[in-house]
């Protein structure tokens, strides 16, 4: 049975384009379209689609409000189609906040110069998102019992080397929501610096860092070249660049490098983790959260081999169980936790 998609966009032109692209995928079928958020609500009720593509700017009811209402009434995975600008970043993050699972640029050139590839990616994302029947949101207050694959008596500290110096987190699809969930649980006196690598376009990361900073007790900073590491501060890798840890264990600092065209991910979890492994080979806690693909696997392998600890998010709480799965399958994970549990365990490190 094919995945049933609802398209929400106020531009007829775009609705028809999206319909054509989505219908060209044999596994997807467009069951309906809506001109605005209001119509989207009705359509969702009527058609019960498996996944929704949502525009942000629409008359009568915008995509963010519609997302919030849909998630309250008929929770459905929603893919935001937004513009990748600074303004777009703000509204896209708002939409994620409202419960949207993922986002794609409206301008396909933003993903790939080859339109066909971009269109295939859109279809692939929709298929992946549809597989998740429920999606964790910020509003989701229910704490799902953790799937702990380790003896439950062990506290998190047992999983770690005694001399922990840094926490590094890598994530992709679903990451903004997951990171917010984890980081908001940490107290201001969290004793370690944190490096965050979230796959995100360059226009999004500054807004994202700012948003996290206002929500969290710990400091969140959009990492800049030359930043010194402070405890209780998380450094978000800038989009489109690579974040490396340089210096020595006693005087580490952040280096921001331009990314090479050969690099698939900008920022890349692997690159950051590898650089961290050189400074803190044994004293690192690396966490891989939800995301498509397997970025972070090589970096975790390096860290794991050197003696650092690796945690991975579990399948149930992951928006996309790709990156954490790569870690779990490679046997690198010292712990596989539910998203809520990761935050709790981290907070226990204080």
């Amino acid at each position: 049975m094919s995945v049933r998609v609802l398209i929400v966009d106020d531009s007829g032109f775009f609705r028809r384009r999206l319909s054509a692209i989505i219908s060209s995928d044999p596994e997807l079928s467009v069951v309906g379209t809506a001109n605005n958020g209001q119509e989207a609500l009705e359509q969702v009720k009527l058609l019960k689609p498996d996944v929704i593509t949502m525009d942000i700017e629409m008359p009568l009811m915008d995509g963010i409000t519609a997302t919030r209402k849909i998630m309250a009434q008929n929770p459905t995975p929603i893919l935001m189609l937004s513009t990748w600008t600074t303004e777009g970043a703000k509204s896209t993050l708002d939409a994620l906040d409202a419960g949207a699972v993922d986002y794609m640029p409206k301008r396909f050139e933003d993903i790939s110069n080859d339109k066909t590839i971009a269109q295939q990616q859109l279809c692939q994302r929709l298929r992946n998102l549809a597989k998740k029947t429920t999606t964790p949101t910020f509003k989701n207050k229910i704490i799902i019992e953790p799937t702990i694959q380790i003896p439950s008596k062990k506290t998190s500290s047992h999983l770690l080397s005694q001399d922990l110096r840094i926490v590094v987190i890598g994530t992709s699809t679903g990451g903004p929501v997951a990171l917010q969930k984890i980081l908001t649980q940490l107290p201001a006196n969290f004793p370690y610096p944190i490096l965050l690598v979230q796959h995100m376009p360059s226009t999004f990361t500054p807004s994202f860092a700012e948003r996290l900073n206002t929500l969290c007790s710990i400091q969140i900073k959009h990492a800049a070249d030359g930043d010194q590491l402070n405890p209780g501060t998380a450094y978000l890798a800038p989009g489109g660049m690579q974040m490396l840890l340089k210096g020595s264990a006693s005087m580490p600092f952040i280096e921001i490098q331009a990314s090479q065209s050969t690099q698939t991910y900008k920022p890349s979890v692997d690159i950051t983790f590898d650089s961290v492994a050189k400074i803190y080979p044994k004293q690192t806690l690396a966490i891989i959260l939800t995301g498509m693909g397997s970025d972070g696997k090589n970096g975790c392998q390096t860290l794991h081999d050197l003696g650092s600890s690796i945690w991975a998010q579990d399948e149930k709480s992951s928006t996309i169980y790709g990156m954490p799965m790569a870690i779990a399958k490679a046997g690198l994970a010292d712990g596989v936790f539910d998203l809520n549990r990761i935050g709790i365990h981290l907070a226990e490190l204080t």
Partner: protein
């Protein structure tokens, strides 16, 4: 640059939507001037630019994307109340709209739009950065360099990184790009924007630098896709999922056609179908033929006196009538399509004339035939410009005359039976009939005596005479004396009539009456000798019997008195019938009073047949271009009737004096 495939369905789809939005923006932007803080309006303008940008982005029309992007950003600030619209900004927006329209036309004709004038883009950027005083030229000093960068980054938000900027600088020196990249990755990126050019500034000439600045500023739309795409390219191609994504994406494989979905999924917007107007014309033509057949059958039926037949025929008549209406409706478009451009026309004109004018549109929703909408556009523009230019006075003069400084121009449309009434009225100075009469004498159009006999409304009609201009000096807007007669001719061609009412000091109202459709015309059938002629019913004023002894000769022209008005009388049979015999003139004749322009004229005809709806058929090659004939049609009894074109008829025959 490679041409666009203008037949491409996607492109056409975009153009249809963009055209609607552009028309909307045109109105909304003018409206914005009066309601600069209307948040609904700001939102909808924002969305307009946003949607065009989205579509243009899809088609890689980068010039359009760049321009819309800046406008979108600016309107985002406006709608958030971070900025306020001022008159200068309005001018820029309207300039932008003009550019967008020309880009649209370029796209329509299959070319990639040319990038917008950098000065406009710079101006927009300046509004965005809050620096309204930015000059049109980039400042040549090297120290000024951070500013243009800031301009670019503010809109494209960090798209141009220091490194990229550096690369640009390097490119100016002819360095090969790969070389830079490798060296760059090793050295630490320079944290400030000024640093890269400090090291390079020695070997860069001022011209080169200016060129670079121009490139950065002017070509930012072109640079955008590249810079945005690079940092974000190819996120997460899961190796496992990849084979799936490679599934052949041709329509042949698609299992599910959106059109084949259950009715519940159909949305209003998707139920429309684009139909070529020529196809509609064909259908209209065939319906026309059907109307003729119906007329023929109903004529035959009257001879049969069969009740069943009569029923069937009357049924046929009803169905044909409905079909005719339905087909006509498919060709209907709201007059809004034409009216929509007027707020802008009036605004621009009023601004350039330094007048204060408020345009009111009434009955924008009135539907009329698509061909008519198009045909009316130019005459209406001309008349509205005239109202603004000649009609409404300067604010000071208005004030002195005890009127509000702001002049009113009202453009109205309404359906009245089977025709459309369009009115253009202003509350300006009005027309002075005596001045017009004087002008006519001065121009040698008639002698003083003839001029003094003109009624007021006949004097007003003088403005439609070729070469007649009311304006003392010629402006570039109107007053060249060409145009009004062209307006007149175009309206006549549509079987329309123009009427002028004016009062000195109070204002002028021009009324245009045009039939709802051009294809089917109600006519009055008359006989001249043994030949049938059709008078367009819209011009027919009244019919009566006339005792020919009651006519007078004035200036060698036979005239009749109708309700104490003297009208010229013409014997149509003398003009048109071949079997005319001068000797046996009956004493009592049928006279049809016809409106020709603003004049009324009496025509003597032999017999009156009655009203009939006819389908206008063009004349055959032999008769093509015959003066005074609008076309031909087939009557209910299967004969051919010629349809008269009165203005032309008068022009070619009236000087004969009989």
């Amino acid at each position: 640059m490679a041409a666009l495939d203008s037949d491409d369905e996607i492109l056409q789809d975009f153009l249809v939507e963009a055209e609607e939005i552009l028309e909307g923006l045109n109105e909304q932007l003018v409206e914005l001037e009066t309601k600069p803080e209307d948040s609904d309006l700001l939102n909808s303008i924002f969305r307009g630019f946003h949607t065009i940008k989205g579509g243009a982005g899809f088609l890689s029309l980068d010039a359009m994307v760049g321009l819309c992007h800046k406008c979108e950003d600016l309107f985002n600030l406006l709608r958030q109340g971070d900025k306020e619209v001022d008159a200068e900004m309005m001018d820029t927006f309207l300039k932008v709209l003009d550019i967008l329209n020309s880009m649209f036309d370029e796209t329509k004709s299959g070319e990639f739009p040319t990038p917008a004038d950098p000065t406009v883009l710079n101006q927009l950027s300046a509004y965005l950065t809050g620096d309204a005083t930015v000059t049109e030229e980039p400042v040549p000093e090297v120290e000024a360099e951070p500013e243009p960068v800031a301009v670019t980054t503010a809109t494209d938000s960090d798209d141009i990184t220091d490194d990229e900027f550096e690369a640009l600088l390097d490119q100016l020196h002819g360095d090969s790009a790969p070389g830079i990249e490798s060296s760059k990755s090793e050295e630490k990126p320079v944290p400030t924007a000024t640093a890269p050019e400090k090291s390079d500034s020695d070997d860069i000439t001022e011209e080169e630098f200016e060129a670079l600045l121009d490139e950065l500023q002017g070509k930012s739309p072109a640079a955008k896709p590249e810079t945005v795409a690079e940092p974000t390219a190819k996120p997460e191609p899961t190796p496992a999922a990849k084979p799936k994504a490679k599934v052949d994406a041709t329509p042949a494989v698609k299992k599910s056609d959106p059109a084949a979905k259950p009715a519940a999924t159909a949305k209003p917007a998707e139920t429309t179908v684009r139909v070529d107007t020529s196809r509609l014309d064909d259908i209209m033509n065939m319906v026309g033929e059907l109307v003729l057949v119906r007329n023929r059958i109903s004529t035959l039926e009257t001879a049969l006196e069969d009740e069943e037949m009569a029923k069937a025929v009357s049924n046929l008549a009803v169905v044909t009538g409905d079909l005719q209406t339905a087909v006509m409706k498919t060709r209907m478009q709201p007059i809004k399509k034409v009216f929509g451009r007027f707020p802008r026309v009036v605004r621009d004109l009023a601004r350039s004339l330094k007048k204060d004018i408020n345009l009111e549109l009434r009955g924008e929703e009135t539907d009329l035939d698509k061909n008519l909408v198009e045909a009316l556009a130019d005459p209406l523009v001309h008349l509205v410009r005239n109202a603004v230019d000649h009609g409404v006075e300067m604010p000071d003069i208005r004030e002195a005359a005890g009127k509000p400084r702001q002049g009113q121009v009202i453009l109205g449309a309404a359906q009245e039976g089977d025709h459309i009434l369009l009115t253009i009225s202003d509350d300006g100075a009005g027309m002075d009939a005596d001045i017009l009469r004087g002008k006519a004498v001065e121009k040698g159009m008639m002698d003083e005596e003839a001029a003094s006999r003109l009624t007021d409304s006949e004097s007003y009609a003088l403005i439609f005479a070729p070469g007649f201009s009311m304006k003392a000096e010629i402006s570039d807007i109107s007053g060249r004396g060409v145009g009004m007669d062209v307006v007149k001719t175009s309206i006549s061609k549509l079987n329309g009539v123009i009427d002028i009412k004016s009062e000195v000091g109070v204002g002028t109202t021009l009324s245009i009456k045009v039939p709802l459709t051009l294809a089917i015309m109600p006519t009055l059938m008359v006989m001249l000798g043994d030949q049938i002629f059709a008078f367009p019913l819209v011009s027919v004023n009244e019919i009566f019997h006339l005792d020919l002894e009651k006519t007078n000769i004035v200036d060698g022209q036979q005239t009749i008195m109708v309700r104490s008005k003297t009208l010229p009388l013409f014997y149509l049979r003398k003009w048109l019938a071949s079997t005319f015999n001068d000797t046996d003139e009956p004493r009592i004749e049928h006279v049809v009073i016809v409106n020709v322009g603003t004049q009324r004229v009496g025509f003597v005809v032999d017999q009156l047949i009655g009203q009939e709806e006819v389908v206008i058929k063009p004349l055959g090659a032999l008769l093509q271009g015959t003066k005074g004939l609008a076309g031909a049609t087939i009557t209910g009894d299967g004969r051919i009737a010629l349809i008269l074109d009165f203005p032309e008829l008068m022009a070619s025959y009236a000087h004969r004096g009989y």
